[in-house]
């Protein structure tokens, strides 16, 4: 009965769909350029955004986030909630009902066994799955019948939408990956390069780190989609060239993540062949303030650890003044334009979690100077640099190599100079800076500098795990091989206690209140200085219709709806 009505619906949809995309493959070819080239089409083995997003055209999750950050059913009939009985009252299990009649691109039926297999694949101890945190707390995945999946958790889970939700956690075909469990994952080149999926496209040829050619999936669930018969997915180059290919020469239809200065984007848009679109997730460009002493005079192993607190950056007057001296609207204007907003909160989005503080939007150099004067940190030796207890306020400010970040460094150095703080700039290649090599002195975890700037975000809409990055025991230190997410080594008992409270709270508005408080706690106590709430800026050609920029999931989430706008 249900199946029948669904089929009827599909037929009706086909009949009434506008003529422009009534027929699968009617609009020819679409060309997408990512300036980072995808290297594998199995997101479980890579975790890189470029790989997750390119794979999202082929393999899909059970449910995903839309452009507003709301969950929408994808391969299931509805999103399970406590209200509709899909999530158990005690929050320990969630039941997904798969849409009947779904098939893989090879024509075989899509069943709950594939979903259960995906769990098994990712949680295999030797597999090195990048998305294993999605399955954290999952004790078992049961398949009572072909279309029902029950995920059991080891305790009450207020947010059970980790496994099988979002572009990072798509479903793999059990038949294709059966021999690829654990250590064998690397030997399955064919499967990793050409996964069989339920998505709108199938891979014709995959040239790693170069180009993917795809064609429409003949067994896609909506017979009218996708509108494009084939896709060329090119990778490589840089953001500038990608933007130019879409907006100036019109060679490509879609360019991803154009991290370029606003005047450069504006110049490209003047080319008239395409437009830039921006969307905002929780990505925050921030300055992390080292709570510990990074002085090179300290012995290795004690430098930048909790053993030696920072000589002056823990002084409220100092970090408050440093934050006041920054002109955030100007930073946005110089660096991000329409792809940036003033950043005042550790969790800038979703809106309900965002905190703010006084004076975030305005620069106050006089106030900052007054604050430092009041605290008694004066320039005693006349070199223009203030001293704190005899220690001159000279700091090292490091970040990854990136044109916009270097502009920010120059601006902030200038402002800090005006309040008597001397800054030495350092920029480090991103592959070293963000690499976790414990042997390198230049990683952001080691933090052998006084302040450092980078951006961080979280997946989905729930910031609980992300807020955990402020917990004392997450500080990188020698006995954790310098691994850990609490980069500034921020440590407050009240924070740890409040975060524990968050983990035990299920009520949404209460969670939001605690989230705001946690976020405010870290900015008010000098763990970080938020700078810019960054958006994602992508460009598509004027003739490409149906693009809905989504920052909560893969940007290519609705590629099935993309079509060519007829210019008649």
């Amino acid at each position: 009965m249900k199946l029948k009505s669904l089929l009827m619906g599909a037929v009706a949809a086909t009949a009434f769909a506008p003529a422009a995309f009534a027929e699968r493959g009617a609009d020819g070819e679409v060309k997408i350029i990512y300036w980072q080239a995808p290297s594998i089409l199995n997101p479980f083995l890579s975790g890189g955004t470029k790989d997750v997003e390119s794979a999202s055209m082929i393999i899909e999750p059970l449910a995903r986030y839309n452009e507003k950050g709301e969950l929408v059913p994808w391969l299931v009939e509805e999103v399970p909630t406590v209200a509709n009985g899909g999530v158990s009252e005690d929050l320990t299990s969630i039941t997904w009902k798969i849409t009947p009649g779904l098939t893989w691109s090879d024509g075989t039926p899509f069943t709950s066994a594939d979903v259960a297999f995906t769990h098994e694949y990712c949680t295999h101890p030797e597999g090195g799955c990048a998305q294993v945190t999605k399955f954290e707390g999952v004790t078992s995945v049961e398949t009572p019948d072909d279309l029902t999946v029950v995920v059991n958790f080891d305790g009450p889970t207020p947010n059970p939408y980790g496994p099988f939700v979002g572009g990072e956690s798509p479903i793999l075909q059990a038949a294709q990956f059966a021999d690829c469990l654990g250590a064998a994952a690397s030997t399955c080149t064919e499967a990793n390069f050409n996964p069989i999926g339920t998505g709108p496209f199938v891979v014709n040829e995959f040239k790693p780190n170069d180009v993917i050619t795809m064609s429409a999936n003949p067994n896609y669930r909506d017979p009218a989609k996708p509108a494009f018969a084939s896709v060329t997915f090119k990778g490589g180059g840089d953001a500038r060239a990608a933007g130019r290919a879409v907006m100036e020469t019109g060679e490509f239809d879609y360019a991803w993540n154009l991290q370029l200065a606003p005047d450069v984007i504006a110049q490209m848009e003047a080319g008239g062949k395409g437009v830039a679109v921006a969307g905002f997730g929780p990505l925050l460009e921030r300055i992390m303030v080292n709570q510990t002493n990074p002085s090179p005079d300290l012995p290795e192993g004690e430098r930048s650890t909790a053993m030696h607190p920072h000589p002056f950056l823990k002084e409220p007057a100092v970090y408050k003044a440093m934050s006041m001296a920054i002109d955030r609207p100007l930073l946005v204007e110089v660096g991000y334009g329409q792809a940036g907003k003033v950043g005042c909160s550790w969790v800038p989005a979703p809106e309900a979690f965002a905190s703010t503080f006084d004076g975030c939007e305005t620069q106050d150099l006089d106030g900052a100077n007054a604050l430092l004067d009041e605290a008694g940190f004066m320039d005693t030796d006349g070199d223009g640099i203030r001293e704190v207890n005899g220690v001159p306020m000279s700091i090292v400010y490091q970040t990854s190599t990136n044109a916009v970040r270097q502009d920010f460094q120059a601006l902030i150095k200038e402002w800090w100079a005006q309040i008597g703080i001397e800054t030495e700039l350092r920029n480090i290649d991103a592959s070293v800076f963000f690499g976790g090599d414990a042997g390198s002195p230049d990683t952001f975890q080691k933090f052998y500098a006084d302040v450092q700037m980078y951006a961080n975000t979280f997946n989905g809409t729930d910031p609980q795990a992300y807020l955990g990055n402020g917990l004392c025991d997450k500080a990188p230190r020698p006995d954790t091989q310098w691994q850990g997410e609490n980069i500034s080594r921020f440590c407050m008992e009240e924070f740890d206690a409040l975060h524990a409270e968050l983990s035990g709270t299920a009520d949404m508005s209460e969670r939001q209140r605690i989230g705001r408080e946690l976020s405010a706690m870290i900015t008010d106590n000098g763990g970080m200085i938020p700078l810019v709430h960054r958006g994602r800026l992508s460009a598509h050609s004027s003739s490409l219709g149906g693009v809905v920029l989504n920052v909560w999931d893969s940007e290519l989430w609705n590629v099935a709806d993309w079509h060519r706008i007829k210019s008649n």
Partner: protein, 326 residues
């Protein structure tokens, strides 16, 4: 019928020496005279002198801090833009315009030139010294040929990026302590460029030496007991001078450009420290709106390299006794 032999032959008038007309000339004076006649070399030398003085003394005359930001005065055009575009944002206090953060371009060119010239010359000379030494040793002494050339092969095949990262990890902190952040980086950059660029020179010099040392004049020198050191110094080196000169010219250009590539990798000078290469690289993305930002450092680099090239040409001609005096 024998002619009487004259016991004291009468000197032939025409062949008699009349004594020196001029005082004897030293070799170096000849070289200088020849060099002076070379227009290109004089132009090149003059320009090089000018640009060296400009970058050395310029910052004293044009006293604008190249790192000073003036965000309200950003994106100013150079003063000559006013000639054809009366609406352009120009001002006499910023004769070469400003960049996207309002830093004065003239001051940047001047102080950037200091760094670029210093790095370029130091790295080029160091790499030439290493290259020539290895090349001469390998070409001249048969025993060292194998090991030295295999060493060259090794250095040629080392991947540069990991090498840089290792060098930074090992040496940045000690050098920074010894010479300060900029001075320490200077030595690191010069060292890195030199040790990754001496190999072509070494191979070229060796190739030439291999051929030269079998020539007759070397045999002659050897037969009169010239020491190997003198042979190299007196007979071989002057004859491989021209490829070395070419290497020097190309090496200078490469060193200036490589420095800018290094700062991309975070191995170079701090990001707000201007150099010609970095100015050029930063300006490429805005070259349509602000062509002067690429043209100014581009011209500075090109003209410097060009003048070194002409200087080298002149020097080569002046040192070649076969050309000299023609």
């Amino acid at each position: 019928m024998t002619e009487p032999v004259q016991s004291t032959p009468v000197p032939i008038e025409a062949l008699a020496d009349k004594g020196p007309l001029e005082p004897p000339r030293s070799q170096w004076k000849d070289v200088w005279d020849q060099f002076r006649k070379h227009k290109g070399a004089m132009f090149g030398g003059g320009f090089l002198l000018f640009i060296t003085l400009a970058v050395l003394l310029g910052p004293w005359i044009w006293q604008v801090d190249p790192q000073k930001l003036d965000i309200r005065g950003k994106d100013m055009r150079p003063i000559w833009t006013a000639l054809w575009d009366s609406n352009a944002k120009v001002g006499w206090h910023r004769p070469f315009g400003t960049d996207q953060l309002g830093r004065d371009q003239l001051a940047q060119i001047l102080s950037g030139g200091r760094a670029s010239m210093a790095v370029g010359w130091a790295a080029m000379i160091l790499s030439l010294l290493i290259g020539t030494m290895v090349g001469v040793l390998a070409g001249f002494t048969r025993k060292l040929d194998g090991p030295l050339m295999r060493l060259t092969d090794l250095f040629l095949s080392l991947p540069i990026l990991p090498l840089l990262l290792v060098a930074v990890t090992l040496f940045r902190q000690p050098l920074r302590e010894a010479f300060g952040p900029e001075g320490g980086m200077f030595f690191l950059i010069v060292g890195i460029i030199a040790i990754t660029s001496w190999m072509p020179t070494a191979r070229i010099v060796r190739g030439d030496i291999l051929a030269l040392k079998e020539r007759e004049f070397i045999l002659a020198a050897r037969s009169i007991g010239t020491t190997p050191f003198r042979i190299v110094q007196r007979h071989l080196l002057p004859n491989v001078l021209s490829p070395i000169m070419v290497s020097a010219t190309l090496g200078l250009a490469t060193a200036i450009i490589t420095e800018s590539a290094l700062s991309f990798l975070g191995v170079g000078f701090p990001s707000d420290f201007p150099t010609w290469g970095k100015m050029l690289a930063d300006a490429v993305q805005r070259m349509e709106q602000f062509p002067e930002r690429v043209i100014l450092p581009g011209i500075a680099i090109s003209l410097t390299v060009l003048s070194v090239n002409y200087l080298g040409d002149g020097l080569r001609d002046a040192l070649d006794p076969r050309i000299r005096g023609r």
